[in-house]
């Protein structure tokens, strides 16, 4: 067992108290990236070659900040390849799931902080994401709400950045927390960051991901995520309205989301957790706090 997560038991005992009573951590995080830019005919989806670069901008910056990106011979950088559900699902869903796997290809729950970039959709009360190859008869991952595939955080994952459409839809907020905790586990995820509606890809957006990693050391990860990824009135504009003065454009709408045992606990985590200020594991997921831009109107969804 890793020594640095030494306060899980303490957190469980203090479950009724807010997060900051527990000691914080400022040690290096294990950071991983999972990105698809080249989709397959087996599972579908158009290619977007610049998508992995956006995820890597975050991963590189985390590395430059001293976080651990894996052994030099098999780094935690997974692009295309055999990207399948097995790396992301919990053994409670299928005993062959390997979200906790430490050896290459390491699972998502082996990381402390990870980014997953792939096409996504709103699968009812939760997010669905496209995989590259089929596993167990499925080309997709689903997380939150009524889906029982994902239970991140019972191993190591604390911060998940889901670079995918509909990955943090307003109408699915209530269910995100169910992907962040597992019944009977003392460890839970801390924060889930995603998008309300459609998100956008472009090599010019790499810096948004790099700055999320950089700013997330100085101020809260939540603020770094929503501020660097918010694009107000600059997407899909009419030719005569590039500044959205006439309201023809749409937005890109990031959402940051934390869980806790009380309103104060969830709020304090959202406001205070940084990559260099990691709090003890949440004592529960009865409450959740979320940060977003009011009125944000993406493609594919109603305005927030």
């Amino acid at each position: 067992m890793r020594a640095r997560v030494r306060n899980a038991a303490l957190a469980a005992i203090m479950g009724g108290l807010v997060a900051l009573v527990s000691p914080h951590q400022a040690s290096a995080l294990y950071v991983g990236m999972y990105a698809i830019g080249d989709y397959t005919n087996t599972c579908g989806g158009n290619d977007i070659s610049s998508w992995p670069g956006m995820a890597q901008a975050w991963w590189n910056e985390m590395g430059s900040r001293g976080h651990y990106r894996g052994p030099s011979t098999s780094q935690y950088r997974y692009v295309d390849g055999n990207m399948i559900l097995r790396r992301f699902c919990d053994p409670s869903f299928n005993s062959d799931c390997r979200d906790y796997q430490s050896t290459s290809p390491a699972g998502m729950d082996w990381m402390d902080a990870a980014i997953l970039a792939t096409h996504g959709w709103d699968n009812g009360d939760h997010w669905g994401g496209l995989m590259r190859w089929s596993w167990n008869g499925s080309c997709s991952i689903t997380a939150g709400g009524s889906s029982n595939q994902v239970r991140w955080g019972d191993a190591w994952l604390k911060f998940a950045h889901i670079s995918s459409c509909f990955s943090a839809d307003k109408d699915n907020l209530d269910g995100i927390r169910f992907a962040m905790a597992k019944a009977g586990a003392t460890r839970r995820m801390h924060q889930w960051d995603g998008f309300h509606g459609i998100m956008w890809i472009g090599s010019g957006y790499n810096s948004d991901y790099r700055k999320t990693a950089s700013h997330g050391h100085s101020s809260s990860i939540a603020h770094a995520w929503v501020t660097n990824h918010y694009k107000k009135g600059s997407q899909d504009c009419a030719w005569y309205d590039p500044f959205n003065w006439f309201g023809t454009c749409r937005d890109q709408c990031p959402t940051a989301y934390s869980i806790g045992t009380s309103s104060s606990d969830a709020l304090s985590r959202l406001n205070n957790e940084r990559y260099n200020n990691v709090l003890s594991n949440p004592g529960g997921n009865n409450w959740y706090a979320y940060m977003y831009y009011a009125g944000c109107h993406p493609v594919g969804e109603s305005a927030w």
């Binding site: 067992m1 890793r2 900051l20 914080h24 989709y39 599972c43 989806g45 158009n46 977007i48 651990y68 053994p91 299928n94 005993s95 906790y100 430490s102 096409h119 996504g120 959709w121 009812g124 496209l130 080309c139 997709s140 019972d154 191993a155 995918s164 109408d171 907020l173 459609i198 956008w200 890809i201 472009g202 010019g204 700013h215 100085s218 101020s219 809260s220 501020t227 107000k232 009135g233 600059s234 899909d236 504009c237 009419a238 030719w239 005569y240 590039p242 500044f243 309201g247 104060s264 304090s268 406001n271 205070n272 260099n276 200020n277 409450w287 940060m291 831009y293 009011a294 009125g295 594919g300």
Partner: protein, 374 residues
């Protein structure tokens, strides 16, 4: 690096006992492994439909107008470190990185690293503020971040920000001018008949088992998101009467305020631009050439589930380390899905490409003399 991290074997053991009991809607593999070729004809029609009407067969006049876009004074002349510190770090600076000295020298170019001015400890739990200027001011990257001391926070303690959008915009422009040295001629103001202002409310909401808004959302910051713009003349569509008085340039600015004042501000890629004397309207691409180029590029990405394309004119930058050359361009936004979708339609996207794509394409032919480093 840690060496004492071991796989959680108990998770696998638990998994063996509890196998997934329900089957959520999933994307199943397609039965045909055959590649689906994009319909080039349809792609070209969508690009053609999205191109602005001011792009025609001969775009030499349009390109000349774009090359004459009116730029303000660059940051390298207007930025002053002491002013930036005074206006951003209210608690005063506790440390300057050695690279900040260059900003007080004659050439004002930092060569070895970013200039970082701090108040407090980034790693700590106390209040902290940081002003960081990228090594080369001409690249136009400056960021100011501040945070309060880490402490438990009850929702009742959140202080709502009540400024009007107009007031926020005014304060944001004043901050960019006074602290970062932005020439406000490059921050166009919306016209009188504008329907929106570039200001948003950053909210925090809190939910629980019973409801998503157990604590009603509170506006904790007001944020101005500003796109750089250059005034241009003569870009008018005679058929519709619509015109473009400003074109977006490289660079965005963000200024966030809470009840106490500016807590975050950033300039991104606000590059120092010059006009390449070797470039002229003679280099303009035709509408057909653009359509073909964009469609070919999108076809290479296997875009088969494509819904619409929108295109705007932009001034891009051909970056040359010390400055950028003005590059008349178009910015293409590709949408694989309709703008508005019902919940059922969102669910039907399972297994399809959904993310939008943004790419820029030069409106001019790049000749070898343009690409030579100067």
């Amino acid at each position: 690096m840690k060496t004492n991290r071991t796989p959680l074997r108990f998770a696998a053991m638990l998994g063996a006992l509890v196998v997934g009991a329900c089957a959520p809607q999933t994307r199943t593999p397609t039965t045909s492994p055959e590649a689906v070729e994009p319909d080039r004809g349809r792609l070209e029609r969508l690009v053609e439909r999205g191109l602005p009407p001011v792009i025609g067969a001969d775009n030499s006049v349009l390109v000349e107008s774009m090359l004459k876009a009116r730029m303000g004074e660059p940051l390298s002349r207007r930025f002053h470190l002491d002013a930036a510190v005074d206006r951003s770090l209210s608690a005063g600076a506790s440390s300057y990185s050695k690279d900040c000295d260059a900003y007080r020298s004659k050439d004002r170019q930092v060569q070895s690293g970013n200039c970082v001015v701090e108040s407090g400890e980034e790693m700590g739990l106390g209040a902290y503020a940081r002003l960081e200027i990228e090594r080369n001011l001409a690249s136009g990257n400056i960021v100011f971040i501040s945070r309060p001391a880490v402490r438990d926070l009850h929702p009742d303690e959140l202080k709502p920000v009540r400024m009007s959008d107009g007031e926020v915009l005014e304060k944001a422009r004043a901050f960019l001018d006074g602290a970062f040295g932005v020439d406000l001629r490059e921050v166009p103001m919306p016209p009188q008949d504008a329907r929106t202002l570039p200001v948003s409310s950053l909210n925090i909401g809190i939910g629980n088992d019973a409801r998503i808004d157990a604590v009603p959302p509170i506006t904790v910051q007001k944020v101005a998101h500003l796109r750089r713009g250059f005034a241009v003349d003569g870009i008018v569509d005679r058929a519709s009467g619509r015109s473009l008085p400003y074109l977006p340039g490289p660079g965005r600015a963000v200024v966030a305020m809470d009840a106490q004042g500016v807590v975050h501000a950033a300039l991104a890629d606000w590059q120092e631009l010059r006009v390449d004397p070797r470039m002229s309207g003679r280099d303009a691409k035709s509408r057909n050439e653009l359509v073909t180029e964009i469609a070919e590029d999108l076809a290479s990405e296997q875009w088969t589930d494509l819904h619409s394309i929108s295109v705007t004119l932009v001034i891009a930058s051909d970056w040359r380390d010390t400055h950028g050359f003005v590059l008349p361009s178009v910015e293409v936004h590709v949408l694989p899905v309709p703008r508005d979708l019902s919940q059922a339609e969102q669910r039907a996207l399972a297994g399809k490409g959904t993310a939008g794509l943004v790419r820029q394409y030069a409106l001019v032919h790049r000749r070898q003399e343009h690409l030579d480093k100067r």
